[in-house]
């Protein structure tokens, strides 16, 4: 079945440093979504990418969808303590596979 992996599993950064998490799917995706979950909270939708090679920005966050639509990345510039949480990618397979969440990357930001 479809598998979605994310690296790294954990990342500790000093406030102000950049952060990147990578998402890789075993199958081609029709779209990819990114969610953020704060400790004790529920996942909150951040963005959806649909097109091959698509790049979207939200303030300090930059999201990319790979040309083959099998991988994606989230980059945060100059992290802040409010960025703390777990970042999940999730995607629908092109060929009707399930909607699968990646295992997430847990970000800690040290002030």
């Amino acid at each position: 079945g479809q598998q979605v992996m994310q690296i790294p599993q954990y990342q500790h950064v000093q406030e102000g440093e950049d952060f990147t998490t990578y998402c890789n799917s075993s199958t081609t995706l029709s779209n990819i979504q990114w969610y953020k979950q704060r400790p004790g909270g529920h996942p909150v939708f951040l963005i959806q990418l649909v097109k091959s090679g698509e790049v979207k920005k939200q303030k300090r966050l930059t999201f990319q969808f790979g040309e083959a639509k099998k991988n994606s990345s989230l980059h945060i510039t100059a992290t802040q303590t409010t960025d703390v949480g777990t970042y999940f990618c999730a995607g629908w397979g092109v060929y009707g596979q399930n909607f699968v969440f990646g295992p997430g990357t847990r970000l800690s930001v040290l002030p």
Binding site: P43, V44, F45, Q48, F88, N98, F99, F101
Partner: protein, 115 residues
Amino acid sequence: SAVISQKPSRDICQRGTSLTIQCQVDSQVTMMFWYRQQPGQSLTLIATANQGSEATYESGFVIDKFPISRPNLTFSTLTVSNMSPEDSSIYLCSVALAGERQPQHFGDGTRLSIL
């Protein structure tokens, strides 16, 4: 977005009992989903709750264990039946306002502990 209310927010249950979790949305939505999230883990889709028909279950989840109701476009329930300690988890409902493959909005979840 939508306001999604889940009840109860948490519960502690005895082994062998069943618990029904409710999910209420403040607008009509076609797509409603139920997830399980074990502590420190990712989300696993249990099923899609279909209005007017049986839920669509993902591999590894069966109706006898997780019966789902969807009587209308704003409400759904998930029952966790004959609970064991392995069922201790957070259960979340979500809705996709714009269609099946569109972004999902989650309720606050139900934290379930089985003794």
